[in-house]
């Protein structure tokens, strides 16, 4: 069953002529090929490629320093690609800056305001800087800041500043919206409302590219995700794609009176269980990591029946984006450790 936003999306596809018209253009919203980016000799982005189709919500995930923001800033036209090509709405975002910016919205990870101005004045000012600006009141309502319109920006909370940021990003009704960690610093309620706003925008045909630390956010909003570690894309695809093949875990309480040696070994790659709790060879819980849950559960049930014991509290959990993310980050960490070791060895030889 489709989620609500997808349903809305299909409604708009059919009924919104604006969307159909935009959708007819053939170039993808974003096309990044073999992007490399350097800071001095440090290679922050090491050959990244992906495309974002029109109307899609694409999430770029990664730890701090993975290269997400750098990649985003190249797409936003803040810096020229170090190597490779980047096209946004079919144009070069760096060379065709103003032309591209007229059609996109940008919410920086951190962008300043004039603390001397009120919320309303800030939006009013910004309306002068963009073509086709929407009404101030309408935009402030949308991000739930209408009640704070007369407050000086210097007095806003962190979450309110993020919402003002968002207001400026959607002020021109962009075709393509870049959001760099949009909900950082927001309370749970503001975060939910932001998600809803993003879903509405997308339902209306806006393409969204976002980066986030909150995997829940990506899992809830994104059509497709890419996980970056150390300047590369380590995994990409729909959330289901990325999760598939990541298997599941089966956990249960070890029946009383059994020792570690009594637990069964499942066919590879499940193998031996990871044991936690208890002491002196008498574990409290057993966890198996398995590829396929069906055969694994059948084997466990056979074993339990043979021994005439219970599988109390048995839990089957499929991998979440968070598991994948942590696994990839760990791989990245291991690789980095090896690299450091190698560098150390080289230095030693010299």
């Amino acid at each position: 069953m489709p989620r609500a936003p997808e349903f809305l999306h299909s409604v708009f596809m059919r009924e919104n002529p604006t969307f159909r018209q935009k959708d007819r253009s053939t170039s993808p919203a974003v096309d990044v090929r073999e992007l490399q980016q350097f800071y001095g000799t440090y290679e922050a982005v090491r050959g990244v490629s992906f495309t974002v189709a029109r109307g899609e919500l694409f999430a770029l995930l990664g730890t701090n320093g993975a290269g997400k923001t750098t990649t985003l800033e190249v797409m936003e036209g803040y810096r020229a690609p170090g190597a490779g090509t980047v096209r946004v709405l079919g144009l070069d975002p760096y060379r065709d800056g103003p032309q591209v910016r007229r059609r996109i919205g940008v919410m920086l990870q951190e962008g300043g305001f004039f603390p001397e101005l009120t919320v309303r004045e800030t939006v009013d000012c910004w309306r002068g800087f963009i073509s086709g600006a929407r009404r101030t009141r309408e935009v402030l309502d949308q991000v739930d800041l209408a009640g704070r319109a007369g407050v000086r920006v210097g007095q806003l909370s962190g979450g309110e500043r993020r919402r003002l940021d968002l207001a400026l990003a959607v002020l021109n009704g962009p075709e393509l919206l870049f959001l760099d960690e949009p909900t950082t610093g927001m309370d749970p309620e503001a975060r939910r409302n932001t998600w809803r706003l993003v879903e509405e925008l997308r339902a209306n045909g806006t393409t969204v590219v976002l980066t986030t630390h909150y995997l829940e956010e990506a899992q809830q909003l994104a059509d497709r995700v890419a996980i970056m570690t150390r300047g590369r894309i380590a995994a990409a695809g729909t959330v289901a794609d990325v999760l598939s093949g990541r298997g599941a875990t089966i956990t249960f309480r070890v029946p009383a009176g059994l020792r570690a040696d009594d637990l069964p070994a499942l066919p590879a790659p499940g193998g031996a269980p990871a044991l936690t709790g208890g002491d002196q060879g008498v574990p409290r819980t057993a966890t198996y990591a398995v590829d396929r849950t069906g055969p694994a559960l059948a084997a466990l049930h056979r074993w339990a029946a043979g021994r005439d014991v219970e599988l109390d509290g048995i839990e089957v959990r499929t991998a979440s984006l968070e598991d994948v993310f942590l696994a990839l980050a760990e791989e990245g960490g291991t690789a980095r450790a090896e690299q450091t070791e190698q560098a150390g060895r080289k230095a030693g030889i010299r």
Partner: protein, 298 residues
């Protein structure tokens, strides 16, 4: 509770479909004027909202003039009213306080990532600069009217002899100091260090450019150096424009200077204007190389 949010957000309206001529096709000159106007209003509003910029950028030269020039009401220098003579010096100094103000504003906005955000809009860089400079220019004009008025009404100085030359010198001087602020922002690491860059320039100009005492009062070897710094030629041209005499070698006890005709006035101010133009060109070159829109990344 949640549902009270995003009330009007239910209908997220996108820009109307681009029928024949899109907004993007609007005459670019009108659009450019709009950007400029937006930037001007922004910097104007922020200037008067910020106490530090209002004090340094607006009040300081006016107050200093009232304190320093008023006691000279009954003296003359080079044959002109000494209080009026000094007042012109403070109009020159007002350009330097605009410089301090502009430098501080640019550096702190760069550090606060306001410039980065501005750059993320479709506003071209020249409009950002022009709007900012225009805001300061209007402040300077107001200061000039106040100081000029005080000079004529209270100090009994004569009205400007060659208003056109005076205004040209004023515009040229302001432009040089505005451009210098943009250029030096590239050498200023951050907001806290801005005063370290701005204050020496302010002091140098205040005491080494003939603001309230003629250049001839400086020790001999320093005179040619001071005369080539950006402020001294501007003040000289301003004085020539206002009093219609050939300044440059006046001293407190020296003789009255010759009156100049209009053409002679321009001829006398010519070298000053050339030095000013050279400084402006240098500032543009440095700005192109060194100006940064974002704080430096480590």
């Amino acid at each position: 509770m949640t549902d009270t949010h995003l009330r009007a957000g239910g209908a997220v309206r996108r820009r109307p479909a681009p029928t024949a001529p899109d907004a993007a096709a609007a005459p670019s000159r009108i659009r450019a004027l709009g950007y400029f106007r937006g930037q001007f209003l922004l910097s104007w509003r922020v200037f008067w909202r910020n106490r530090r910029s209002t004090f340094i950028g607006f009040l300081l030269p006016v107050l200093l003039d009232l304190v320093v020039a008023a006691p000279l009401r009954d003296r003359t220098i080079g044959g002109v009213n000494a209080a009026g003579y000094t007042t012109i010096g403070f109009i020159g100094l007002a350009m330097v306080t605009s410089f301090v103000n502009l430098l501080t504003a640019v550096v702190s906005r760069r550090d606060e990532l306001v410039l980065k955000r501005l750059r993320g809009t479709e506003v071209p860089p020249w409009a950002v600069f022009a709007g900012q400079l225009a805001g300061g220019a209007v402040v300077l004009l107001i200061q000039t009217v106040i100081l000029g008025g005080v000079s004529v009404v209270w100090f009994h100085a004569p009205p400007p002899a060659d208003p056109v030359l005076f205004l040209v010198a004023l515009a040229a001087g302001y432009l040089v100091f505005g451009l210098l602020a943009l250029a030096l922002s590239g050498f200023t690491p951050g907001t806290e260090t801005a005063p370290l860059v701005a204050t020496p320039v302010l002091l140098l100009c205040m005491f080494g450019a003939g603001v309230f005492t003629p250049l001839q009062s400086l020790p001999g070897p320093l005179r040619p150096l001071a005369a080539d710094l950006p402020l001294a030629p501007v003040i000289k041209a301003l004085r020539t424009g206002w009093f219609g005499r050939g300044f440059g070698h006046e001293t407190w006890d020296g003789a009255a200077l010759h009156r100049l005709g209009v053409l002679d006035g321009w001829q006398s101010a010519g070298p000053s204007l050339l030095i000013t133009a050279a400084w402006a060109a240098a500032a543009v070159m440095v700005t192109r190389r060194r100006f940064r829109w974002e704080p430096r990344r480590d």
